[in-house]
């Protein structure tokens, strides 16, 4: 497809500008020539061509509304339409962040109540909604841990991170000046307790644990893990990317987690927008409240307000108050579902994942054969060994069957990983036809491996040369 620059023609525009109703003057004289630019090489297109361009681009994109999207660890559940309408209400979109608090009482109430709801769902003492994404929340959480030990006057150097962890975990630890040390998984896919005991010293600030972990498995020894960490004065950090596995069934605060970050765009159904905006609230236990980012929200009588007066705060991590409009959608979602609905969402998500696991078990190798939570992880190693067909090939063939592929090659500890997260919003029929497609691909891998390796055939482009893209990077179009 042509680029917007390639359909540009001098003299066209899709947006006109009002004539000035105030006196005009020579800007060059007023501001100074050296401060002004001469060129402005933006596309020039008519409105109809602009709309066709972007509409045609949208047709080359796959979203949840087009089909099943079992992308593991990403919780691609349906994004209720009513929440989009609500978030577009002028009362929510129209306010400047520096408007006086009296004019923003609706927004402040929403933020306040959202924090309270999240405290209830996750068993934490307080939440901040300021971080803009999950990784941002992680960084915020680790900063609070750093501050906590600084305040105690005991500098700790190390953060423990399981080998199955998201890649952002070690990056977040390192960005706060910690050394990260890898913790092994045991044969059941859980924390290797003996290894943890051997690593846990008074130099360890925290363990960053995802529970259930990225294998979709719940940490059965969580109580023991928390005890080992806490006995040495360490803190337990929870990566809440997988909260759709336990919301309403158990609470991180009760399990011993001191900090947890969430992803509203996963668990609370706000759309991912093709890679953002997200929202990454962070919840803390009592010991860490003082370190929360500012500003923090307060309720006095019926009035809500912001305050920055917290001497031990880590400070600010984003401008203004976070991705407010995303929070509106998540708030509406929580109100729609209510306590029972949230719990049912988790139950159906876990039911769906286990159903897929059972149906595909005969055809693909399970990384760990035990009950999973909201996602299940297979390995494509049988297909590699027997037919030379890799997980990438299986993923690409799924595209031809009309599905978005699962997450692949993650977690890193599973060779040829295929990580399937169906979410609760999919029907049995959808799961059945998806499983039939997976089974058909397993069969095709045996009978016609080259066919699988050539997939996809139904897309506007076939497999792309990623090596070329990295070797000779072309990240901005240039006129030739």
């Amino acid at each position: 497809m042509e680029l917007i620059f390639e359909i540009s023609k001098p003299g066209r525009s899709a947006a006109d500008i009002s004539e000035s109703d105030v006196p005009v003057f020579n800007i060059e004289d007023a501001i100074g020539k050296k401060y002004l630019r001469n060129d402005l090489d933006l596309p020039e297109v008519a409105e109809i061509d602009l709309i066709r361009h972007f509409t045609n681009l949208s047709r080359r994109n796959f979203g949840i509304d087009l089909g099943f999207y079992p992308l593991g660890s990403c919780t691609m559940k349906y994004n209720p339409k009513v929440n989009e309408n609500i978030a577009a209400m002028p009362g929510f979109t129209g306010l400047h962040p520096y408007v006086d608090v009296e004019s923003a009482q609706g927004n402040l109430q929403l933020i306040y109540e959202m924090q309270k709801y999240l405290c209830g769902i996750f068993g934490m003492a307080e939440f901040t909604l300021q971080p803009a994404a999950g990784a941002h929340g992680e960084l915020t959480g680790i900063m609070m841990i750093k501050k906590y030990f600084e305040k105690k006057g005991r500098k700790r150097r190390v953060i423990l991170i399981p080998d199955a962890a998201h890649g952002t975990n070690p990056a977040s630890g390192a960005l706060c000046g910690f050394d990260t040390v890898e913790l092994r998984s045991n044969s059941e896919g859980g924390v290797d307790i003996e290894h943890l005991q051997s690593l846990m010293t008074e130099d360890v600030a925290a363990l960053m644990l995802t529970n259930p972990n990225t294998l979709g498995l719940f940490e059965r020894n969580i109580e023991k893990v928390a005890q080992i960490i806490h006995d040495k004065g360490g803190l337990l950090y929870g990566d809440g990317a997988n909260a759709n596995a336990f919301m309403g069934k158990t609470r991180p605060g009760d399990l011993g987690f001191d900090v947890i970050q969430l992803n509203l765009h996963k668990t609370f159904s706000t759309p991912h927008g093709g890679g953002g905006p997200g929202s990454g609230p962070v919840g803390v236990g009592k010991a860490l409240i003082d370190f929360l980012p500012v500003p923090r929200i307060f309720k006095t009588g019926d009035k809500y307000s912001w305050s920055e007066k917290f001497p031990d705060t880590i400070g600010r991590v984003r401008s203004f108050y976070g991705n407010f409009n995303v929070i509106v959608k998540a708030y509406a979602y929580i109100r729609s579902l209510g306590a029972e609905g949230l719990k049912r969402a988790t139950e159906m998500a876990v039911l769906n994942a286990n159903y897929i696991k059972e149906k595909l078990k005969p055809y693909y190798d399970l990384s760990y054969n035990r009950g999973c939570m909201h996602e299940c992880v297979f390995s494509g190693k049988r297909q590699v060994a027997e037919n030379g067909v890799h997980t990438t090939d299986i993923a690409k063939m799924l595209i031809d069957y009309g599905y978005h592929p699962p997450t692949i090659y993650f977690p890193l500890i599973v060779p040829e990983a295929i990580m399937i997260e169906p979410t609760e919003t999919e029907s049995k029929e959808t799961l059945d036809t998806f499983c039939e497609a997976m089974i058909a691909i397993a069969r095709e891998a045996k009978e016609n491996p080259d066919g699988v390796k050539n997939a996809p055939l139904t897309t506007p482009v076939t497999r792309l040369d990623e090596v070329l893209a990295a070797r000779k990077p072309d990240v901005c179009w240039k006129k030739t």
Partner: protein, 441 residues
């Protein structure tokens, strides 16, 4: 409403297929003592109609102003209808990050086009797919400069947005860097002598903004010279993105990184977010910059296509060696920016001119009032600092008439007593300004 399609019979069949007698068996790994019976503090479920009603009530509790004269990092601009229609397409907004390129060509190409427009607007060679907001774009650039050079001192102009400086303090504390703030001159521009004094061989980066927080346009070229002479890098921000429609971009003056808030391009005020951080750089930093990057390549048949590229920079692969942990961008906000910029095209300059005219008109009218003065004589774009006899009283009067007045600078700059930072975009009419002056009188 819970959006789960299963019927009781579906559930029964699925349980049988799994081999469990009930749902709770699926949660057997959770130790009994930690199993939750009921989530506390959550109201009962609502029907769709009830949800809309509850949310409308909340939205109505907010008081929408008739007129906004505050900018200060978030700008009220007109958004052409095309923007909402495109970002409202579910193919875009219900997609995840484009990991599977073959079915994500739409957003990938749109981001490639965005990167191209941003690089051009900022006068640089490359731009990433966007960051969280203007603050994160600036801070990520500063941290990168420190990581690349191994130096630990960051100089930031006091005329940079106060909240950006606060975020900078947080990140620099976490990384063990020192932050030094740089004074501004009576003109409102940064003090080059003070800069010379602070520049030593430990400085990784110098952070400025143009237009700066006071609306004042900086002369970037001499700053670039000084900074480069001392082996440091210049990170140049901007306030309102529409200023790039008319002002010489910092990249053209030689800045190493050009960063800023992109909200002005087609994104509503949204009480502060979601916005998008614009991050542009010189080509030589391509393999080091944080965030996502889309590159053009070819498919097996030689057709042009787009992929996420240079991901070895990212935390997925480098893990603890990554220079940033940023994963997501603000793709949908960047898409809005793309559509906005493509819709305006060369009219972006006309829009910028209109902002300048309106701001000068506002200034001239307010300066006719007794006791009002212009604080900084240097040229401005669409924001201006004016000192008045009683700034609190002015804003109070305006608020009572449904108008958001100027931003009170004193809380961030104690020396700027009774000084208000006003912003007049194209959304402010002559009639509106005349009314403002009448109210203040």
């Amino acid at each position: 409403m819970d959006y789960c399609p299963h019927t009781p019979d579906d559930i029964k069949q699925m349980q049988a297929a799994i081999g469990v007698a009930g749902i709770d068996e699926l949660f057997a790994d959770i130790p009994k003592k930690f199993r939750l019976k009921q989530i506390p503090d959550i109201p009962s479920a609502l029907s769709e109609q009830e949800t809309v009603s509850v949310m409308s009530d909340l939205a109505r509790k907010n008081k929408l102003p008739q007129l906004t004269l505050t900018g200060a990092g978030a700008y009220h601009h007109f958004i052409p209808a095309v923007v909402g229609h495109i970002v409202g397409r579910a193919e875009f907004y219900t997609a995840y990050t484009p990991y599977q390129a073959e079915i994500s060509q739409g957003i990938l190409q749109a981001i490639y086009e965005y990167q191209t427009m941003i690089a051009h607007l900022t006068g640089t060679e490359i731009a990433n797919a966007s960051m969280y907001d203007g603050a994160s774009a600036m801070i990520e650039a500063a941290v990168l400069c420190a990581k690349m050079s191994g130096k630990t001192k960051i100089i930031v102009a006091r005329s940079v947005h106060p909240e950006y400086r606060q975020v900078l303090q947080t990140y620099c504390w976490a990384n063990g860097y020192t932050v030094v703030e740089l004074a501004y001159m009576p003109s409102g521009q940064i003090d080059l002598n003070a800069l010379q004094n602070e520049l030593d061989d430990q400085v990784a980066a110098v952070l400025v903004q143009s237009p700066n927080f006071f609306g004042v346009i900086e002369d970037i070229a001499p700053v670039v010279d000084d900074v480069h002479k001392k082996g440091a890098l210049l990170v140049a921000g901007f306030t309102d993105g529409t200023s790039l429609g008319i002002l010489q971009p910092a990249g053209a003056a030689g800045a190493d990184f050009v960063v800023g808030e992109g909200q002005s391009f087609g994104n509503p005020l949204n009480y502060g977010g979601p916005y998008l951080g614009i991050f542009a750089a010189r080509e030589k930093f391509m393999r080091r910059i944080p965030g996502r990057l889309v590159g053009a390549t070819k498919d097996k048949k030689g057709r042009r296509g787009f992929v996420l590229t240079l991901q070895t920079r990212e935390q997925h692969i480098r893990r603890e060696k990554a220079t940033s942990n940023i994963c997501s961008n603000e793709a949908l906000c960047a898409l809005a920016a793309s559509v906005y910029l493509a819709a305006l095209g060369k009219n972006l300059r006309k829009l910028a001119e209109l902002n300048i005219y309106k701001t000068q008109y506002l200034k001239n009218k307010l300066l006719q009032l007794a006791g009002w003065q212009e604080v900084f004589p240097a040229p401005v774009y669409n924001e201006i600092v004016l000192r008045c006899p009683d700034s609190k009283k002015v804003n109070e009067k305006l608020k009572n008439e449904g108008i958001i007045g100027g931003y009170e600078l004193q809380k961030d700059y104690p020396e700027l007593e009774n000084s208000l930072l006003f912003c007049a975009t194209e959304m402010v009419s002559k009639t509106g300004i005349d009314r403002v002056v009448e109210i203040i009188k």
